[in-house]
Amino acid sequence: MSIHLSNINKSFGAFTALGGVDLNVPAGKLVALLGPSGSGKTTLLRIIAGLDEPDLGSGSIAFHGEDVTRVPAGKRKVGFVFQHYALFRHMTVFDNIAFGLNVRPRRDRPPASDIADRVHRLLKLVQLEGLDERLPSQLSGGQRQRVALARALAVEPKVLLLDEPFGALDAKVRKELRRWLRRFHEEINLTTLFVTHDQEEALEIADEVVIMNQAKIEQVGTPQEVYDRPATPFVYQFLGNVNILRAPALAPAVTPGAPALVRDGQIYVRPHDIAISPFVVGAGGVEAEIRGIHAAGPQAKLTLEQVSNHELIEVELSRSELVGLDLKLNDRVGLRLRRSHSFSEDYAI
C-alpha cells in the first residue's frame, strides 16, 4: 500500500519538528528515512503510524489514496517496531506476538488454534522457532528485535514502520540483521519505512532514501542517485567525506558535468573524485603540494595544500595508484576532477 503525505507540520512548543513535509512512498518499497538526530525523521514516522498527530489544520496522510489523518493508530493497519522493542516483558514470546490478535473484539478474533498457527508461522519467518515459551528477558537483542517485528506483523499490517530498528544492537549483529531485513522485505514485499541515522545502512538496503534535515526533506532518490548526485550541500556532507573549498581554488577544474556541487561560492567535492597526476606546467589542473600520506586501509588518504591559496584538500586513491605515482611528501602535483556525470545545469559553473 502506498503512503502519501502532504504538507505535514508538527511543532513541540517553539521547536519545529516538521515544516511542511511532502512525501510519496510507493507500494512495496523499502524506504529509509535518513537524517541526523533532531531532523524530524522519527516524528514523521510516528505521525504516519498515528502515534503523534500533525499540527491542527496542517496536511494530510493517505494510505493507498484513502485519507487516514483522523484514523487512530490501532485502526490504521500499521505495524510499528520501536527502537527499544517495547516488548511486554511479563508475556512470553508467544503471547507478545499474539497480543494484537488477542485484543480484538470477540467477533473479529480468530479461533485460538488459528492464532497459534499464525504465531508459529511468524516465528518461523523471523527464524525464532522453538522460542515461543521464552520471556523477552531471556532473548538477545537481535532476537528481541525480531520478536517485535513478528508482533507487528501478526496483525497483518498494510504498512511496516521501523524506528531505528538496529540502533540498539552491536555492530556485527546490526550488519547481519540489516541484510536479513532486506531479504525479508523481498519475501513479504510489504511497504516498509525505516528510520536510521546511519547512512551506510540506508544506502545498503533501501530501495529509496529520504534524506531529512532540520524538519525538512532535503532529497529523495535511490541510494545511487543521492550518493552520486547530492542535491544540497547538506546531503553532500551527510553521505560521505567531502572537501569544501572556496570557489576560486578548484574552480578551473570544475567543468560542466563534473562530480562537484557549487553553492554560495563554495565547491563540494568528494575525496575520491579528485585525480592526481604529476604536475606539468600548462597542463591545467590545480597545483598542490602533498602534506600528508596515510596509507593504512584499502584506500590511501592524502592531504594536499593548494599552492595558490594554501587551502587543504583531502584526496582518496587506491593503494596501487599511490604506488604507481610514486608520491612523496612535498611533491608538487596537479589535481583534476576525476569522472564526469550527467549533472543537471545547477551543478555546473
Partner: protein, 277 residues
C-alpha cells in the same frame, strides 16, 4: 564453608559491610524481638493459650487484621490512581498535592487521631451530616478502618511513583498500535508491569496498619470485643502489669505479621520473575 569463601570483587568492603549489617539488624531488630519471645517462653502452655486465645483477644485480632487488610486494599486502589495522576499529568498545584501525600508520614499519629475524631464525631464536620443518615464512623470499626487508611496511603503512592515514572510510554503506544483499547492496555500491559510495586506498597501499608496505635485509639472508642485493636490490648495488659500476657500477644502478632510479609514477598518474587534481564 563454600558460601563464605572469599570472592574477589572490584567493590571492596563486602565483609565489613555485611558484618555491620548483621550487627546492626541484630541490635536494632532481633534483640528486642527475641526479648518478647524469651519473656513468653517463661509461661506455661496453658497460660499462653489463655492469654492469646481469650474471646476478647480473638476479637481484637480479627479487627486488627481485617481493618488493616481493608485499609491496605483501599489504599492500593486509590494510591495507584493518585500516583498515576501525579506522574502522568501536569497541572497547577501538583507540587502541593505531591507534598500533601507525605503528610500522614510526618504528622504525629495522635494528632491524626484527634483530627479524624473531631471530623467524624457526632458533632464534627462530616459526622453531623453522616450520623442522621445512620452512618456512624467515629467509635466504630469503620473509624478504625478510616484511621488506618489515612496513615497507610503514602506507602502505596511513594512505592508506585518511581516505577510509574520509569514505565516506557512505548509500551502503551505499542499496545495501541496493535489495536488494544484503553482498558485492555491498562489490564494487560500496565497493571502487570506495576503489580510488584503495587504489592510492595500494599504490604508496607498493611504492616504499618497492623502496628498503628496512636491515631486509632482516639477514633475507635476502645470498646472491648468491638473496637479494640491488638496494640491497644497490649498496652492495656502492660498497664495492668501483666507483662507476660502482653508479650504473649505480641509474639502471636509478630509471628502472624512475619508470616504474612513473607508470603507477600514470595508472591512478589514470583511476579518479578520476568524482570531479570
Amino acid at each position: 564453608m563454600s558460601l563464605l569463601r572469599k570472592q574477589h570483587s572490584v567493590l571492596p568492603g563486602f565483609g565489613l559491610s555485611l558484618g555491620f549489617t548483621l550487627a546492626y539488624l541484630g541490635l536494632i531488630v532481633l534483640v528486642p524481638l527475641s526479648a518478647a519471645f524469651l519473656k513468653t517462653a517463661g509461661m506455661s502452655w496453658g497460660d499462653f493459650i489463655a492469654a492469646v486465645a481469650s474471646p476478647r483477644v480473638m476479637a481484637a485480632y480479627r479487627l486488627s487484621f481485617f481493618a488493616s487488610l481493608a485499609a491496605a486494599s483501599v489504599n492500593a486502589f486509590f494510591g495507584l490512581i493518585v500516583a498515576w495522576v501525579l506522574v502522568r499529568y501536569a497541572f497547577p498545584g501538583k507540587r502541593i498535592l505531591d507534598a500533601l501525600v507525605d503528610l500522614p508520614f510526618a504528622l504525629p499519629t495522635a494528632v491524626a487521631g484527634i483530627a479524624l475524631t473531631a471530623i467524624y464525631a457526632k458533632n464534627g464536620w462530616l459526622g453531623q451530616w453522616l450520623e442522621p443518615q445512620g452512618v456512624k464512623i467515629a467509635f466504630t470499626e469503620i473509624g478504625v478502618f478510616v484511621a488506618l487508611t489515612f496513615i497507610g496511603l503514602p506507602f502505596v503512592v511513594r512505592t508506585l511513583q518511581p516505577v510509574l515514572e520509569e514505565l516506557q510510554p512505548e509500551l502503551e503506544e505499542a499496545a495501541a498500535s496493535l489495536g488494544a483499547n484503553r482498558w485492555q492496555t491498562i489490564a494487560r500491559v500496565l497493571l502487570p508491569e506495576l503489580f510488584p510495586a503495587l504489592l510492595t506498597g500494599f504490604a508496607l501499608s498493611f504492616a504499618r496498619a497492623l502496628g498503628e496505635y496512636g491515631s486509632v485509639v482516639f477514633i475507635s472508642g476502645n470498646m472491648p470485643m468491638r473496637t479494640e485493636i491488638v496494640p491497644l490490648l497490649i498496652i492495656t495488659k502492660l498497664e495492668q502489669y501483666d507483662y507476660r500476657g502482653a508479650t504473649a500477644i505480641a509474639v502471636v502478632m509478630l509471628t502472624a505479621s512475619f508470616g504474612l510479609l513473607l508470603l507477600i514477598n514470595l508472591i512478589q518474587k514470583w511476579s518479578r520473575r520476568h524482570h531479570r534481564v
